[in-house]
Symmetry: C2
Subunit: 304 residues, 2 copies
């Protein structure tokens, strides 16, 4: 059962790809993805997340993508990723996102040199001070190589405008997952929601009390992700679990290909929602037998 009042940071937050083509952003394909999400009725759209390849785009490309997302999202609030290696750039991106009409922003502590907890705290302190929209803390050690301690989450969650924490997953075992979510919740103010990411753990996280699923698969196949989310929101633990288990072969492919991005990018290409190659080089989508296996799986799972 999910607690609290609905906010932008509750329910299903769907993270679309930012499809590329030879001249840059494939704007038509991106707009199509955003409209799919709005039509499906997701609770928010997380543009320029890791799935949206924010780290690979120029400031101008990110501004344009943010504008397109807001323009085509209808009534659905748009959250824009503003992460960058340098505080100066994060501040500029925060300003751009707000100008573009973002309802909220998402900030990961990207790193090249390994960051200390004090450096990360100072980053969030500086950025939240300049914001006039709510912020979600993006905790993703796989890409940022920074590990948040619970103590640091507690400190950052007190800062103005912080309204959610996107955690990288929960323990697989339901009681351990619930304990994890409750431990973190006890440290953060009531206005801060806790959101699960790592699609394979989403049902477990929602069932354990996370208010929101920051979802990769929801950015491409929103109806499948909404079904899981709505079941969990209604307190139907078993149905949420069943629907997630059904997608287990997809989660296995995520593991096999170094995360979700290459798989969802290939799925978008296979479904005619993006042109190959849709990822920014050096990243590649699936090829050959892997791609055929994914195509068969999408059909089998009726993901379209």
């Amino acid at each position: 059962m999910i607690r609290g009042q609905p906010t932008m940071f509750s329910g299903l937050s769907a993270f679309p790809l930012t499809p590329m083509n030879q001249s840059g952003i494939d704007e038509a394909a991106f707009v199509r993805l955003v409209e799919r999400l709005a039509d499906a009725g997701v609770d928010s759209i997380g543009a320029l997340g890791s799935t949206g390849s924010y780290a690979y785009l120029t400031r101008a490309e990110r501004m344009r993508t943010a504008q397109l997302a807001v323009k085509h999202a209808g009534e659905v609030p748009v959250i824009i990723g503003i992460g960058a290696l340098r505080t100066r750039d994060v501040l500029a991106l925060a300003e751009d996102a707000q100008k573009a009409g973002a309802s909220g922003v998402l900030l990961a502590p990207m790193s090249y040199q390994k960051l200390s907890a004090d450096e990360v705290f100072a980053l969030y302190e500086t950025v939240t001070r300049s914001l006039s929209v709510p912020l979600c803390v993006y905790d993703n050690p796989t890409t940022t190589h920074f590990e948040f301690s619970d103590e640091l989450h507690e400190r950052i969650a007190q800062l103005p405008n912080v309204r959610s924490i996107k955690i990288p997953g929960v323990p697989v075992e339901p009681r351990a997952a619930r304990a994890r979510v409750e431990r973190l919740r006890a440290l953060v103010p009531p206005q801060v929601t806790i959101g699960v990411s790592g699609d394979a753990l989403a049902a477990t996280g929602l069932n354990a009390g996370c208010e929101v699923w920051y979802s990769v698969i929801g950015g491409l196949f929103p109806r499948a992700a909404l079904a899981i989310t709505r079941a969990a929101q209604a307190g139907d633990v078993q149905e949420a679990t069943r629907l997630s288990e059904r997608l287990r072969p997809l989660w296995a492919l995520f593991d096999q290909h170094g995360g979700s991005l290459r798989v969802v990018a290939a799925a978008a290409e296979l479904r005619g929602l993006a042109e190959h190659p849709t990822l920014p080089l050096p990243l590649k989508t699936l090829e050959g037998a892997d791609r055929q296996q994914l195509a068969a799986l999408l059909d089998e799972l009726d993901l379209a």
Copy 2:
């Protein structure tokens, strides 16, 4: 003893900081550092390496820094770091570096999404095809989070224009270090030199047969690094080791502060060679007691 003929990728390659100030690059301070290196007679200058904070700068800032390095390096060859998350940007930076007059380039496979070996090979294949200057492969898992296998080094070393590999260190034990260098050397063509980085392991690496030391401390205190390098080049294993051991308290500070960057940046500030704060936020240099400890150590070691 160090084998082979001298090339740009042999001896001491000194990596200066790129000092910052409120308006961007502190050009006067950078020029002063480059001139110090040229005056000291280092064998090459590695501008815009990790120590030069390449990952945190805009393309325009990197172009300007490369131009200043070449202009003020005198006869010393300049190697320019061209790493970026995206192949498109690496190609643009390679072009800029060559236009600026770089004698060589240094390329690390920076990552946000974890890269596969095939993706990294394709990156080097694409970039080396477009180059007209030699390239050094920059293997630094601490910052790139990519681990080169020896097999991948072997494949990349066959590509046109590849002339050196900057390895992240060698085993501490001298025989193991020699075995490591020899194993890699057997896999790469004779025109490709092997360079050690990780200053604490430099004497061990040079003594084990590395032709070049890609040096952080050499970018700030070139005479101390040259003394170690020249001893090793002359086959004086014991003297190279003794001179490196003398600096052990400095190597210990590197370990203590998450790598060399924050320590050398603070040292530059303490020696009046850069203004505080010289690093790009969110990165911070040493403060308080740590800074005082470093100041005392620099005096004790007579590093000026």
